[in-house]
Subunit: 456 residues, 2 copies
Amino acid sequence: MSRTLIALLREGLPAEAVLTDPDVTSAYSHDMASFCEAGTPAVVVLPRTVEQVQHVMRTATELRVPVVPQGARTGLSGAANAGEGWVVLSLVKMDRILEISPVDRIAVVEPGVVNAVLSRAVGEHGLYYPPDPSSWEMCTIGGNIGTASGGLCCVKYGVTAEYVLGLDVVLADGRLMSTGRRTAKGVAGYDLTRLFVGSEGSLGIVVRAVLALRPKPPQQLVLAAEFASTKAACDAVCKIMEGGHVPSLLELMDRTTVKAVNALAHMGLPETTEALLLAAFDTPDPVSDLAAVGALCEAAGATQVVPAEDAAESELLLQARRLSLTALEAVKGTTMIDDVCVPRSKLAEMLDGVERVAEKYGLTIGVCAHAGDGNTHPTVCFDAADPDEARRARDSFDEIMALGLELGGTITGEHGVGVLKKEWLAREIGPVGVEMQRAVKAAFDPHSLLNPGKLF
Amino acid sequence: MSRTLIALLREGLPAEAVLTDPDVTSAYSHDMASFCEAGTPAVVVLPRTVEQVQHVMRTATELRVPVVPQGARTGLSGAANAGEGWVVLSLVKMDRILEISPVDRIAVVEPGVVNAVLSRAVGEHGLYYPPDPSSWEMCTIGGNIGTASGGLCCVKYGVTAEYVLGLDVVLADGRLMSTGRRTAKGVAGYDLTRLFVGSEGSLGIVVRAVLALRPKPPQQLVLAAEFASTKAACDAVCKIMEGGHVPSLLELMDRTTVKAVNALAHMGLPETTEALLLAAFDTPDPVSDLAAVGALCEAAGATQVVPAEDAAESELLLQARRLSLTALEAVKGTTMIDDVCVPRSKLAEMLDGVERVAEKYGLTIGVCAHAGDGNTHPTVCFDAADPDEARRARDSFDEIMALGLELGGTITGEHGVGVLKKEWLAREIGPVGVEMQRAVKAAFDPHSLLNPGKLF
């Protein structure tokens, strides 16, 4: 069977695009999530053209072999994990930027383009592609679309979904479908484009995307504010948003995270603070916007408010924030990164609850958060070699999701469901929701060959 | 059958919520589109609660009677038209604003809330609900969601879809499903929320919506620029967008439209101009933004550039634009309003083509356009009592859509497909696209009872 599969794949793919050496293919078995099952794929294919992708899907359908599409495998939910004997369809070789139009403010790209490569390329035209997940130097646009990823920019600029105008998709049976548009507006039929965004490769293979761009904003200026409690920092967040401000970034790091970042990178961040809030503006007059926000921070009890003097200082503060997850991973070797998003009015309750969970399970849980969006990343630090601690880590991870749902939030603001949160998706959307999600899946993938077992 | 239907409906609805008098129900048979078939409904129901909507759908499913949901019936594609013997499910009595939260920047509303009522209510909290279709004083949020409507604001603020975070939906069989979220971000499963936006009531009945709001921007200031050709005006549009400007409005009216507005409302607009461009900014410094845009207009050949002196003058210019469709209707009694959206780089070619079509068919076709989005409304003016002219109107309407598709555009930027553009949807999205749209429909509505025969 596996031999037939590989022989058939080779009929439509060049030799170097079909990898079967287990030492090589095993590297493609999973993404960056902890605690997610993964199997060894039968084969990894690296197509360079739409026709080659169609050939892969036709072959997979003919032989009824499951396929998982992959980008850079930087995902955090196991959505890109292979099953035993599956085909891994890696899109990283389809990495051309096909078009950048400053008048139409769009880019047309293949799925394997790295986010940072696109960002820099459009920047040269005075344009801006906002979505900026932490992995932006590695992750691909196809992966960003598959997982509907977010980043630091979302509080002002929204998530990946808002930048995908149209897609070319290879369906399970190998047929090619175009969705959406390359125009600024369009409502011709059901919005299948958006359906594919965040579908984790379970409905079709994205082979081309039309992305919306914005004019490049002015360089943002950052302010750091220290608080003696996370509650005070969250109050500041609410006051800032209630006050009608539109920061380009509004991030929170708790003390555990600040200490971890200092330990990793000697950044000299203030370790006495319970919560460090970073706010930024990319407006015409960021100094006065930061002054207004600084005053709101002080009114909410900030012990110190330090605006960055210039772009270099701003960049340093952002670097500290971007290092957070890596730094927390260094604490005990392994992390489980929650991704609960709550209404921002519930942010203080959420962080308070996370602290209680950490105490209850005797664990270190650092929190960094896209505070302006209410999107928290409580990060459980543990020693994977200690079975009891690993069990407690898993339990606390779940308890944090339960808390998020209680507060009217969602189990995932930007990392997706994958394997990691399947049970939790069902809890969030309920049995009718799951049934309709499954019905949509069946409409696109009647033999359940596209990344089966993910999401639900 | 009809008697059984009405008796069963009355079991779960108060007497005044079930209308059967044909003189009354016939008023509910269609929306504002021309040339769209419509039948007389068997009954009009006006539920006030979710439970009543569920009762209607359970009854309809039991008896296999089609249902069309309706708001204010201001749609322009026949999407709200009834079929003979159908149930009209009018949501206008479910018109409560349930919540407005300045911290979370959301509103929770029932579907029958009128757009302008919501806009004013959130305005009192310093908030802004951008989508502003021309019918905003009449149309309902439920209708806006069903048709994915746009408006003048879209060039900066996007369309209705971008403001719908979560929905409660009654499915065809009467079950209640919640989609989406009330948080700023969320990627838990397929984006069914977005699937319902623009689905023209064909997938389920929206009974509650969580809407995203923005902080209220400063009052916008408008500039008018006159051009001796539509091409020059379109060049200005391209230069403005290419230059990285973010106007809150960028509208075009051709000479036919300007004259029609003057004839209707004696606005004193300049009739010698071939194209009048309106640009606006709601930025902190609109005067300097307008100056920059004014200079670009002049460079593109504007014969006159007149910035409004104040808010009152700005409002007058907007009124002229908002009157366009009504004014064009007055020209010969009836209009067919196209809604073709092209990449803005193709706007000049589009308008040029429309002129050729008007000449070819010997018709008056006025064009107003959301120029910044490339979204044109070529409006065919004709005498419906003249069969030959009516036929030419219909043919020219189609030819304009063909031109839009040729230029890489879409047949509908914001008015939807409904009955009017069914054949054209198929041309735009192709057979695979139609098949997958139908598969999605079947997943939600296996007996095809929800507004059947619309879209495809």
